[in-house]
Symmetry: C2
Subunit: 276 residues, 2 copies
């Protein structure tokens, strides 16, 4: 993880990037990407833009038109709507129907892709935690859960169990991943920790201090890796409880940090056709 | 003049400001305003946005809608068009029909005003050069010339002579300033330096290396102050020639630096009603 650093002096030649979301105050991308721009000597800045859903279309039109505005990070609640506003989608975005990054290509077209799942996998890998051959339980089949389950399937996990309080949403995810990654057994599971090697919470349960745990951890083994994608608090009740049982815990911000390199590659790829 | 400094680390809470223009690479506002934000401990950033004339309306609409986007510096060629897109105009903007700064008021309305002329006057004053009681010649009656002549009239100059190659434009400026500042004699002049205390070039003549001088300086007195508003080159042929004759010369960037405090007051005024 890079430490927070000041951005270099901005000028009239500085290229513009932004993260768009609503709310926006909580985002970590300005810190992460400006540190990266500075470390690589790139004359660019990434700023936070607070955009309401009703204003997304106008904002994307302004992004299209502005000559020195080159890329967007897209966060909640815009990921699905924005996917319909770009000109082409990369593979992950097409599979998920959601973008979390948009690049303006040299010809002006907008290319969207999604690095949330890859960010989660890279965040684990940066700590030496591999998913290949592991039995994984993912709690939550919303946007983040879909991205994470797809990326875990790409890593050739031994099996993936999916739980969501909404059975329709859960089953839709199980079917789509099963169709895309036939070699990885994916099925619906109960929210019970026993028997899994890796557990990932992709729900928002744990953001509020009096939230219950998102699953039953009574059978949790000390060899299990327990991960959360919640950004605040960094130490969720689930992670604290797992740590008390001796588990390896993995915090939410690692997913953001894990995708910085991938998004930088996406923004600055010299052969964008490879993505389109 | 403040030296260039890095902006502080940006985050999701950072308020957004921008300078809009076309071209944009030459602007100095990001350096000047980010240094000011940092010096005052304000969590804000000013970025350069390259906006073509056809895209100005959409850009202003996005500015209106974006919840953390608080102010704009407006530069060439948008100053007149933008004046028609805001909800109210301050006194100088109303007089000039042009804005160079727009603030979003707490109720969401956009207030435009113009600090170009005040910036020029403050830039001179910062060096101890007063305009009250001086005979001033201004070359050029375009947007910059109008702003400068109005501000000089407000300083109670002894007299103001205006020259422009376009007699209609010159006469319109002379009439409007005369009506607004009846105590200051304003008239049309030839482009001849002799007999003036202060000479200001408000044309673009001098930007190109082989430009002629914008006026006849054969009768220039060594006690005359010769000012240029051209930003690049900082040392125009006119300033170089005047310096060789022993005159005090005054460079273009001082006009930008001179308006930073005024624009900061405008952006962060706690009683914006005073401007509206």
């Amino acid at each position: 993880m890079k430490t927070a650093r000041a951005t270099p002096g901005l000028s009239g030649t500085t290229r513009l990037y932004a993260i768009i979301g609503d709310p926006i105050a909580q985002v970590g991308s300005p810190r992460l990407f400006n540190a990266e721009f500075q470390a690589r000597g790139i004359d660019a800045v990434l700023v936070a833009m607070h955009v309401a859903p009703a204003d997304l279309g106008g904002m994307i039109a302004t992004f299209r038109a502005m000559k020195n505005f080159d890329g967007l990070i897209v966060t909640v609640p815009h990921k699905i709507q924005a996917a319909a506003m770009v000109d082409s989608l990369g593979g992950n975005a097409a599979r998920l129907g959601a973008v979390n990054a948009i690049r303006k290509l040299p010809d002006g077209r907008l290319l969207g892709d999604n690095f949330d799942g890859e960010g989660f996998v890279r965040g684990l890998a940066a700590r030496g935690i591999e998913l290949a051959g592991r039995k994984v339980l993912v709690i939550g089949a919303g946007g983040a859960g879909c991205a994470v389950v797809n990326a875990i399937a790409d890593q050739r996990a031994a099996s993936i169990g999916v739980y969501d309080i909404d059975a329709t949403r859960r089953d839709a995810l199980v079917r789509s991943v099963g169709a895309h990654s036939p070699g990885v057994p994916v099925g619906s599971s109960e929210p019970v920790a026993a028997g899994f090697d890796v557990i990932v919470n992709c729900t928002s349960v744990g953001m509020k201090p009096d939230d219950p745990l998102p699953l039953d951890i009574s059978g949790l083994d000390a060899n299990t890796v327990v991960a959360d994608i919640i950004l605040k608090p960094v130490r969720t009740p689930l992670l604290e409880a797992a740590a008390r049982l001796g588990c390896i815990t993995h915090e939410g911000p690692a997913m953001l940090e894990g995708q910085v390199d991938a998004v930088m590659d996406f923004f600055f790829a010299t052969s964008p056709q490879a993505h389109a």
